[in-house]
């Protein structure tokens, strides 16, 4: 369905995306594009959505190059980043134009607009002008335009920016339902927690390079290769430290005020033993803070290695 073969993108002298290869199979599902600002997420999205041709390599969507290719574009829905809309238009009219530009006409167009507006919860407010809409409402309209033509591939660039928590949850729910219905969704974000809640597969980008690819669990496996920091608060921090130095996984240890900070490998093996020690009263534990046992940690480790 989606195949990149050493696809790269340059902006003049600046390399937006290094030669990148990956493949996403047919069928529904959500893929997260993760990376900090400037990692190359938008570059990749512009290649996938056919806005820009690759500077090198090949991009294949549904077996064809998407750049200026109506046969491919008719199956793609794009929600770009940013809060830009044509001045002086209202939501309904703009959606109508976007639908017509996707080949929809007559009653099919009316039904598509209605269906898309219902999906994003804007069926009663779409006739407002863009200048009268809140940022969240405009984001929903932007989502609606991408759903209008029932695309097989939905590409969303930072879709949660500016949304309140409820709208975020609604959007996540919508994306999950679409994915269950057989749509392939690619969603970019630099907030790892958002993607972790949503996706079954992530592509990790950093400084224009694809660092890692896999499911969240697979990415977490990478964690085992790197030491993870745990802060164990205890009235007997020295006792905790004594216990810790006997463990094979310990890499580093430092003492803080009323706590021991351990750096350990293979937390999956280490944590159950720590749990046993606490339960049996061997270790008086007040609090356990996994300082970096989440996707952020994966990200930090991987990017640190490549920085």
């Amino acid at each position: 369905m989606i195949r990149l073969e050493r696809a790269s993108l340059r902006y003049g002298d600046i390399l937006g995306l290094s030669p990148t290869s990956f493949e996403l199979p047919d069928g529904g599902g959500i893929t997260g594009l993760l990376g900090p600002n400037g990692a190359g997420k938008s570059s990749l999205i512009q290649l996938l959505s056919g806005l820009l041709p690759p500077s090198g390599g090949e991009v294949g969507i549904f077996g064809e190059s998407p750049f200026r290719n109506p046969a491919v574009l008719t199956r793609i829905g794009l929600v770009p980043e940013g809060d830009r809309f044509p001045v002086g238009l209202n939501g309904t009219r703009w959606l109508r134009m976007m639908g017509e530009l996707s080949g929809l006409t007559g009653s099919a167009l009316d039904e598509s607009i209605q269906r898309a507006l219902v999906a994003v919860g804007m069926e009663t407010r779409a006739q407002l002008g863009f200048s009268s809409m809140s940022k969240g409402m405009r984001q929903r309209i932007r989502m609606a335009q991408a759903l209008l033509h029932d695309p097989d591939l939905l590409i969303l660039d930072e879709p949660f920016n500016g949304l309140d928590p409820e709208a975020r949850l609604n959007l996540m729910e919508l994306m999950r339902n679409l994915a269950l219905g057989g749509k392939r969704i690619i969603v970019s974000s630099h907030i790892l927690g958002e993607v972790a809640q949503l996706t079954d597969r992530i592509l990790l980008l950093f400084r224009g390079r694809l660092l890692a690819e896999g499911s969240v669990a697979e990415i977490r496996e990478l964690l085992d290769r790197h030491p993870v920091e745990l802060r164990i608060a205890s009235e007997a921090a020295r006792q905790v430290a004594r216990w810790a130095v006997e463990q094979d996984e310990l890499v580093a240890l430092r003492m803080e005020d009323g706590a021991a900070v351990l750096a350990v490998r293979n937390p999956r093996d280490f944590l159950p033993r720590l749990q046993d020690a606490v339960v049996t009263g061997q270790l008086p534990l007040r609090a356990l803070d996994p300082l970096d046992l989440n996707l952020d940690a994966v990200f930090q480790y991987l990017t640190k290695d490549h920085a």
């Binding site: 340059r10 046969a71 574009l73 793609i76 976007m98 017509e100 996707s102 006409t105 029932d150």
Partner: protein
Amino acid sequence: MSTHAIPTPFQTLSAVARGYLPRVMQARGWVLAALPVLPIGLFLALTTILKVQGERIPPALYLSAFHVVLAKFMLPIMALVAAPAGIREDIEQRTIPLMLARPSTIWMLPFGKGVLWFGWGALWLVVACAGLLALGSSPEAFFYQAAALVLTYWAVLAFMSLLGLVFKRGTLWGALYLFIWDPLVRIFPGNLQRITFVHYLESIAGTRSTEVAASQLLAQEQISTPVGLAILVLIVFGLGCWALCGWKLQATPLGLAGSESEG
């Protein structure tokens, strides 16, 4: 799998023109309408006052209104007002990626927006020309004057839109062309006059502006182009510019940031 038809060039044109229709009814559209109509309204008001006071109305006042006001000032200003509202506006507002990511006929997008602003401007140019009838113009002159203004507006708007797509500072180049090149070169010898818009405008209108005094030193006998040929030149030139606009947009990769990649 979605199985929508790919829109034809005409469907693209229709979608864009109808989609942006409300824009001409907003501030910029009314400014565009006022540009030709207000001065003619002022002419009519002043002549009415003069008539009431029993004063003499200057002869051939409609020719001054046509050449000095409409052709020399208002038509170029109209093009400067309308052209940036075309596809250039979508590029500057960065809304163009949303259109480019659709399976529409991309080369038709500039014309789709341009034809809307052309139609609206042309309508008010004709209304302004109708006002010239009250200033003493004849129905026959009205036909040629309206045709001259509308067709020149067609060509100038297309030219300005093209400059806006080719250059970052297209408005500056367009303004320099219209307000320096055109008035200067129209009095140059022989066929050089044919590379100005005003030459064709005057050839179709059948009358000339007498204002060449600023450059008497350079002033040459002005040549004419047959009306039919002048009409053809303006139509073809306009079509050519729109075609180049379409080609430019089709061939230029425009990303989300509005910048071009190396491709």
